[in-house]
């Protein structure tokens, strides 16, 4: 046993945090989802079994939220992957420093605090004479209120595009230049080289980025919360993850429904675990593991 005590020491702090804030929350989410815990029942919650899930199945707003979630994930995913690919391809054509500068510019929204980023959107989308969009189009309106979906998708898309951009850029750099020279010698046009040589080689990175972003879009709600908070009006941009948050922390009726919120979160948790396990399979775990450098003592 003593020979493993060193490893235990090194692993202790990380494991403690992971147990406290990952493993325990997963279990607790599932447990809470089977209770009617809320502000009014805080001191005396009772078990309701599958009750919360049944309530979700029957709730009037569930179809709308599912539709919104699907719309949000699909539209944003297309923008993210498409724009990421476009940015990676174009910057690959440019002189190195110019390409780097453009990539840094597209990374800027990602590192900008979300509150500041959304403030900028609010400023640009304000009514005339203040907002740039109203100014340019001559159509004075609050664009976030009038076209919430376009803003939600674009705002999230501009952030998400940088993820694909970076991954695709390193994948493009890894393409042996021989291949492209050979294509050029054979008389391929730029477009043909991209379409016939580069894109097929990017198949795996594209698949990876799409899979990864699907999961993170499904569960992310920070920018929607700040931009529209699920509105305007009743649930017009409310997605599943945001709704879970609302149920638990800022219910319309002032009675925070932790149990119901947990049931909604539990759906995401289960999807998250399953999908992550699939990634592990698909993106080849054994290769990553390798043998440790052997201990002498």
């Amino acid at each position: 046993m003593r020979r493993w005590s060193v490893a235990a020491l090194f692993l202790l702090p990380g494991s403690l945090l992971i147990v406290l804030f990952f493993l325990l929350p997963v279990v607790l989410t599932l447990v809470l989802s089977a209770t009617n815990l809320s502000t009014t029942t805080f001191s005396h919650p009772s078990w309701v079994g599958w009750g919360n899930y049944q309530e979700l199945l029957q709730a009037r707003f569930t179809p709308l939220i599912l539709k919104n979630t699907l719309k949000y994930v699909i539209l944003t995913l297309f923008f993210n992957v498409g724009m990421g690919l476009l940015l990676a391809l174009i910057t690959a054509f440019l002189p190195v420093r110019l390409g780097d500068a453009f990539r840094a510019l597209w990374l800027l929204p990602r590192i900008t605090a979300s509150v500041v980023y959304v403030l900028i959107w609010q400023g640009l989308a304000a009514v005339a004479p203040y907002g740039l969009l109203s100014d340019l189009t001559g159509n004075s309106q609050n664009w976030i209120q009038q076209s919430p979906w376009a803003v939600v998708v674009l705002a999230n898309g501009v952030i998400g595009a940088s993820f694909g951009m970076l991954l695709f850029t390193s994948a493009i750099r890894a393409i042996p230049s021989d291949l492209l020279h050979a294509a050029a010698v054979d008389g391929a046009t730029t477009w043909q080289s991209i379409y016939r040589v580069v894109l097929p080689l990017l198949r795996w990175p594209i698949l990876f980025v799409s899979a990864y972003q699907t999961l993170s879009l499904l569960t992310s709600f920070e920018y929607i919360l700040l931009l529209t908070n699920g509105g305007p009006g009743f649930y017009s941009t409310e997605v599943w993850s945001l709704s879970a948050y609302h149920q638990a922390f800022s219910n319309y009726f002032g009675n925070a429904q932790f149990g119901l919120g947990s049931a909604m979160a539990a759906v995401l948790v289960v999807i998250g675990v399953v999908v992550s396990l699939i990634y592990l399979r698909v993106f080849n775990f054994k290769e990553l593991l390798g043998e440790p450098k052997v201990e002498v003592n």
């Binding site: 692993l11 990952f22 929350p25 990602r110 979300s114 509150v115 020279h181 979160a265």
Partner: protein, 275 residues
Amino acid sequence: MGLNRRVWPWWAVLLGLLSLPIVAGYLWLVLSSLSNQMHGLLPTGGWKLQNWRFLWESVGGRPSIWGALSNTLIFAFGVAALEVLISAMTAYAISRLRFPGRGIYLGMILVLHSFPAVSLLIAIFYILRLLGLFDTLIGVILVKAALDIPLGIWVLKGFFDGLSWDMEMAALTDGASRWVIFWRIALPLVRPGLLALGTFALLSAWGEFILPYTLIISNKTWTLSLYLQSLIGAVDLTDYGLLAAVGLFYLLPVVVLFLLGQRYLLDIYGGGSKG
């Protein structure tokens, strides 16, 4: 890339057009913070230093911005220090030591790395209350560090795996303990990795919104994101200058840090965790 290079100016123009909205956005922020009023991107009514009054006076009964700034600094550096140290220890063990369940452990880290942690927020809220750490900076620091640690372990494991084993081997045969080797030999050798992860953690914690928003209530513990968010709801359109100034004040350190740490960072954002 060995493609036709003569056409690049056209691509640069196209990319420039695509990027215009981003440039316009940040330009708006800077100009707004300095001017009396903005019509689109045109400042009207002259310059207005009063937008920056939050630096020397309280705005609408809020606590001073300097308190929020120091909370944000404590939060960001606390998270970065914890995250780097703990990730490094764990990554070192996974990379260098043999222990039962190593494969499962690494598999778990990988799953957690892609696992969307925000869906755990309700349960985390509960656990913090149970621990008595709700509405404290230390509580949010622990949560933020914990949620980013799988990524950190993953990144640093790559760095440790890439190290040659010779020096450690020599030190081991000379009778040095693992602990000493970790601090004296391994850590200094993966300095680029530590810097990259540290910069990433600083940036990510500095801008963090949803965790403090959910886990902090009292305005004494506000970070800058909560300070700004409380203003956004309360100020009318004509005072966007104040909001922009606070936003810029909040953004500037990040831009500086980003420019300094950029070359370390790109790899991590490629494996990053935001939507």
